[in-house]
Structures are given as structure tokens and as C-alpha cells.
């Protein structure tokens, strides 16, 4: 997507550190809770912003291409689908093997996230976070046991942390004005 396709409205020059200009931000704010479910969603998003549908689409494509959006998708609510047990598993994995094991684990079905994070010794020895989803805690435990076997001697310890309550979950929301206190 070429940058030259963007019109040069004055407000479009207000590009913030994350590469979004004022028009991109307006589109983000208008779409972050979901696209309008109508035949021409881009036109519907653009109308109140004074933008043509193809301009909105071009910007959505660009945000996708540059990694600002991971995906523009039908986002399932796993809990509602029956995956009511979600276990955040944390692993103390040998640094020498974490690259290989992290990649292997990421490919396993039922894994939604797999991240390396820093240890904080002595109280926090875990450096690999793997989010597992199942219908029951027993299912999550079986998945974790399979991971334990795969890690073998490279894993010193692990824990499964279940969410007992969701106290807040909004998904990522940009502030109305980036950088301003809310």
C-alpha cells in the first residue's frame, strides 16, 4: 500500500510515535469495538468521518500490512464456545532451549499465546508463558502434562494459574486522545 494514496489533509500530518496519523486514529476509534455489519462496512465507517469507503479500506489494509493490527477478523469468545477453563501456564525453561521449545509449543492446538518473559529471581523463576484452553481443568492439566513431557529435562518447574474471576476485560482500546491523561 503506497503512502501516496493518502490525501494530504493538514490533520493527517499529525503522526504519532506509533505511526498512526489523525485519520488512522479516527478509524481505530470507530472500529475497535467492531465493524458495522452491513454490505459496505468501510463506507459506513467512513461516512461520519467524511472519508470514502475505499480510503477507509486502504488505511485498514495498511495498518494490517505494517503490523498495527494483528488481524481483522471474526473474533471468537472462547468462553462462550465452551472453553471455560483457561490456564495460564508458566514454565521455568532452560535458557539454552527456550527458543526451540517456544516455537514447538506455539504450534500445538489449544495454545493461544506463547510468550517469553523475564524471570525475577528469586520470587519469579518462570520465563515461558503458555496460555491453554480447555472445557475443564482436567483437560488443561492433560495439555500441561503433555507440555511437561515435551520439555523434559529442560524444564525445572511449572505452575498452572487458572482465572477464578474476570475482573475486567475490554480488549485493547486506544484512548480518545493518545497521550492525554484519562
Amino acid at each position: 500500500m503506497s503512502v501516496s494514496t493518502c490525501p494530504s489533509e493538514p490533520q493527517a500530518d499529525d503522526t504519532s510515535a506509533n505511526g498512526l496519523d489523525a485519520i488512522d486514529r479516527a478509524i481505530v476509534l470507530a472500529t475497535q469495538a467492531g465493524l458495522p455489519l452491513v454490505p459496505d462496512p468501510w463506507g459506513a465507517v467512513g461516512k461520519p468521518l467524511g472519508l470514502a469507503g475505499n480510503e477507509v479500506l486502504a488505511r485498514m489494509r495498511r495498518m494490517q500490512a505494517n503490523g498495527m493490527t494483528r488481524r481483522i477478523a471474526a473474533v471468537p469468545n472462547h468462553y462462550r464456545l465452551g472453553y471455560v477453563a483457561n490456564g495460564m501456564t508458566v514454565w521455568d525453561v532452560d535458557d539454552a532451549h527456550i527458543e526451540r521449545l517456544g516455537r514447538e509449543v506455539a504450534a500445538i492446538p489449544g495454545v493461544s499465546h506463547c510468550y517469553r518473559r523475564p524471570r525475577h529471581l528469586p520470587e519469579w523463576p518462570y520465563n515461558l508463558f503458555v496460555m491453554l484452553h480447555g472445557r475443564t481443568r482436567e483437560e488443561v492439566e492433560r495439555q500441561a502434562e503433555a507440555l511437561r513431557e515435551r520439555f523434559g529435562d529442560a524444564c525445572r518447574d511449572h505452575r498452572i494459574l487458572y482465572s477464578s474471576r474476570i475482573l475486567k476485560k475490554t480488549g485493547l482500546r486506544l484512548a480518545r486522545r493518545l497521550g492525554s491523561p484519562r
Partner: protein, 167 residues
């Protein structure tokens, strides 16, 4: 679990990782699935209303859209709800989960991290300022867990429909 038919499942399987970014995305989806644009739109509306889909739209990368950090705090159970409310009130919080399962013998009480949240901000400086302000308000140290490397980001995973249906 909501009653989902074959079309609902195919919509989720085919499009949880991404919609076609074309002029008429729902028409394109209908073409692939052998149904009309109107049927696709009506199903998506219903799935959203039934909360089977949390939304049909963009998933932003928090690391690209600003700064964010997973943090945890260990608080006594009696104080947990009050602390959770204080966390939720502070700016930039987008997830906050009570989690259990860490407690074990030999683990000091102050290391039983039972509240887990994601703090966001427009940049790293604002993020750190927010974390420090929250630490001061709570009177508890936060465990800061920045992402060092993503082996698998949240792009969904294949739904095991048969397993979900099994008794």
C-alpha cells in the same frame, strides 16, 4: 454453549484469523461458503449478539499501538477485591484477572501473585509513570513481565467442535 449450526462453525473456522479485506467482505465470504451476503451478515450479527463472537473487527497489537505490560500483584485474599477495584480505576488497564494456583508450600505469601492485569499507555514513559503511580496507591510492589519474545501471538486456534460436543 450456544447452538451453532454448520454455517456458524464454518464462519468461525474460516474467518477467526482474518476477513477478506476487499470492498464487499461479507459478499466475498458468502461466495466462499455458498451463501448470500445477507445470510453472512445476519449470521455474524446473531453470533455477535449471542456473544459467540466478541466482535467482528480489528485486533490491535498492543506493542504497536502503544506500550503495554503484563503485571501481577500478590495481595491477601481479604483485600483482593478492593485492590482489584483500585487497579480497574487506574488509567490504561484493559485486562484484570484474579488467578489462583500459584500458592504452594515454601512460597512466601508476598509471592502468591493472585491479580494479573495488562497496563497500557501511549508510550514507555507514560507506562512506567502509570505503574509507579499504581504501586504507590496500592502499597504493593508489582511484578513486571514485559514480553521478550512472542513465539505465538493471539491469532486464535482451531476450534475442536467434536470435542466441545462430547459429553
Amino acid at each position: 454453549m450456544a447452538e451453532l449450526d454448520a454455517l456458524d462453525r464454518r464462519l468461525i473456522d474460516a474467518y477467526q484469523r482474518g476477513l477478506p479485506l476487499c470492498e464487499r467482505p461479507f459478499a466475498a465470504m458468502g461466495e466462499c461458503l455458498g451463501v448470500s451476503e445477507t445470510q453472512v451478515i445476519e449470521r455474524l450479527r446473531w453470533l455477535q449478539q449471542a456473544e459467540v463472537l466478541s466482535r467482528v473487527g480489528p485486533v490491535f497489537d498492543p506493542a504497536r499501538a502503544g506500550a503495554s505490560l503484563l503485571a501481577a500483584v500478590a495481595v491477601p485474599e481479604a483485600e483482593r477485591d478492593a485492590v482489584a477495584e483500585a487497579i480497574n480505576r487506574s488509567p490504561g488497564i484493559n485486562h484484570n484477572y484474579a488467578r489462583e494456583g500459584l500458592a504452594r508450600e515454601g512460597l512466601a505469601r508476598q509471592h502468591d501473585y493472585n491479580l494479573w492485569f495488562v497496563m497500557t499507555a501511549s508510550d514507555e514513559i507514560q507506562l512506567e509513570a502509570r505503574l509507579e503511580a499504581l504501586e504507590e496507591e496500592l502499597g504493593y510492589a508489582l511484578l513486571r513481565l514485559p514480553m521478550v519474545e512472542a513465539f505465538h501471538i493471539d491469532l486464535g486456534f482451531p476450534i475442536s467442535w467434536a470435542e466441545l460436543e462430547a459429553p
